[in-house]
């Protein structure tokens, strides 16, 4: 599997070089197409399974996950020449419970070769305070705080024997956009220029990210569930956001 991908990565430019002019016509900023992103949920390298599997945090404490969902928004793509494109109205809610949500389609993207992708983990400041929203931002999705306007950016619920909360619950609802408790974080990654994200009218590439749910609990601060097992915004949410800003996403490969 891995080897064939490397082969593909090597072959792709060759195919492109040897292909006819058509492909050049399609790198026209006025033509738009789409690509997909697949989010593969894991916990420290093991597939994420809700409710059943026991995992360990960086402190060696056991835990299970019952809910894992998060927002990805304001997707921005860059080319080697430094030009960028912000995908309008790009708001996505990815929910482990809904497998369709883990494969998103990003539309309205000018065709071209992109070598960097950036997005907000969460929802931008303005939309947190905007009027009634629909789609991914619909409050019906259970990611909107009704007593303190704003979205929950990342929601992880579960249990840990170490948790001192009732029923050993873990409740990590990360959100808040006002300093000092601002939890808006941006993820960005370079894309290997040898195999950039090639958006074409006749080719819709797929990006594959590994998403490590355990990244909430390590990276900057190793979290012990004995002392931190509940947060809904505020200083503790900032600790968690600083953790996942580093390790939540990793670009694994691109299928062009």
């Amino acid at each position: 599997m891995k080897i064939s991908q490397y082969l593909l990565a090597l072959l792709c430019p060759i195919i492109l070089l040897s292909s006819c002019k058509k492909s050049n016509d399609e790198i026209n900023p006025n033509t738009k197409s789409s690509f997909t992103i697949e989010f593969e949920h894991q916990v420290n390298g093991a597939a994420l399974a809700l409710n059943t599997t026991t995992y360990k945090n960086a402190k060696g404490e056991d835990f299970k996950i019952n809910v894992f969902k998060y927002y990805v928004s304001n997707i921005k793509l860059s080319k080697t020449d430094g030009t960028t494109y912000l995908v309008p109205e790009s708001y996505f809610l990815i929910d482990e419970l809904k497998s369709v949500s883990k494969l998103i389609t990003v539309n309205d993207v000018p065709t071209g070769d992109y070598t960097k992708i950036e997005y907000t983990i969460g929802v931008d400041y303005a939309r947190n305070f905007a009027g009634a929203q629909t789609g991914a931002l619909d409050p019906i999705n259970g990611m909107f705080w009704t007593w303190n306007s704003g979205y929950i950016f990342v929601k992880l619920e579960g249990t840990s024997p170490q948790s001192t909360a009732a029923n050993n619950m873990l409740t990590f609802h990360i959100g808040g956009v006002v300093d000092p408790s601002n939890t808006i974080r941006t993820y960005s990654t370079e894309i290997n220029a040898a195999n950039p994200l090639r958006v074409r009218t006749d080719a819709k590439p797929d990006m594959h990210f590994i998403v490590n749910a355990a990244a909430l609990f390590t990276g900057t601060t190793d979290i012990s569930f004995a002392t931190l097992n509940f947060t809904m915004g505020g200083a503790n949410s900032v600790i968690v956001a600083n953790n996942y800003a580093k390790g939540l996403f990793r670009l694994d490969h691109i299928h062009n």
Binding site: F129, A130, G131, P139, N148, S181, G234
Partner: protein, 326 residues
């Protein structure tokens, strides 16, 4: 002659408008993304008064926000919700909301359109969820038709529900009290000598917080109700110690009808409120510096301030049949 049956001489329906009184500044909410229509307003009003939206079908928005109390909750200190569950705060009146940039006593909610959500989902208020409401509305005539009239199709979603409710709540403007008519110098409106004396006292002692024309500067302060507040207030939202026990300065418009008073509804009369400022202010940690020594008021000053406060009653608003459950 039976031609004159009442329902056959329906007067032409008045166009619902959002009217800005000339002594008010520009509003914060201006219906830009929520085109105000008669159908949208009518739907919002129907939703506002429909108790079937709540979990046990006993509570509507109108149960806690009653028109005769300027859409506050007249007979309850803190609001009662479903299953007779008691909330922790006093329902504020609903008017001039289009000028507010934050909602609730602690300013936690930032947009008028999303402000009903807490009441809908709070286990202690309406105790239901939006999905249940959507399912109910989809299967209950005449709602699908009303949504079609308001939004062009029978689709029902949370956004349409919230936008239509807002077409009702944001249109609630109270700016036609005697005070307003005097300020606008309308057809010889004048204060009596007591009212005028009260107004002058008010400007001297109260309006630094209860600022005209809304009779609030929309800031969060402690007026010394308790040494240690049982309700965190604003710090629940900001996490800042200096905000502990502070609450939004409430409007005093229609104050004659919005009792009981304060965030927890502890005072039943304006006399009790004035006596609080006169002799009851406690040295809470975040007490507003202006109230360090309370606000000494003698008996005649109290009467004059009360006389002035009653000029803030807008009977036209409270009795407007456009806003009542019909």
């Amino acid at each position: 002659m039976y031609a004159c049956r009442k329902d056959e001489i329906k007067p032409e329906e008045a166009k619902i408008t959002f009217a800005i009184p000339s002594n008010f500044p520009a509003p914060a909410y201006n219906f830009e993304d929520n085109q105000l229509t008669n159908a949208g307003f009518a739907l919002g009003k129907k939703l506002f008064y429909d108790a079937r939206l709540s979990a046990d079908k006993s509570v509507s928005c109108g149960s806690c926000h009653q028109q005769f109390a300027a859409f506050a909750n007249l007979d309850h200190k803190v609001s009662h919700g479903v299953n007779n569950c008691q909330g922790k705060r006093n329902a504020p009146p609903l008017f001039n909301l289009a000028w507010q940039k934050a909602f609730f006593w602690d300013g936690g909610v930032k947009n008028i359109e999303t402000s009903p959500l807490n009441a809908i989902t709070d286990a202690c208020e309406m105790g239901t969820d939006i999905e249940a409401i959507i399912a109910f509305l989809k299967s209950t005539a005449p709602y699908p038709d009303l949504f079609k009239q308001a939004f062009g199709s029978t689709d029902i979603n949370s956004q349409r529900i919230l936008k239509s409710i807002t077409q009702f709540t944001a249109v609630l403007v109270s700016g036609n009290s005697k005070y307003d008519r005097v300020m606008r110098k309308e057809s010889g409106a004048t204060f009596t000598s007591d009212e005028l004396a009260g107004y002058n006292l008010f400007k001297e002692k109260c309006s630094s917080c209860h600022t005209e024309p809304f009779f609030t500067d929309f800031s969060y302060r402690s007026n010394g109700l308790d040494l240690v507040s049982a309700d965190e207030g604003r710090s629940h939202i900001t996490g800042v110690n200096a905000d502990f026990g502070t609450f939004r300065v409430p409007t005093l418009r229609n104050i004659e009808y919005t009792g009981p008073y304060m965030h927890d509804g502890r005072f039943y009369s304006l006399d009790e409120v004035l006596e609080h400022y006169n002799s009851g202010v406690k040295a809470s940690a975040n007490l507003d510096s202006k109230l360090k020594n309370g606000i000494p008021l003698n008996a005649s000053e109290k009467e004059q301030i009360k006389a002035f406060l009653k000029t803030l009653t807008d009977n036209e608003f409270i009795k407007n049949t456009l806003y009542n459950e019909s």
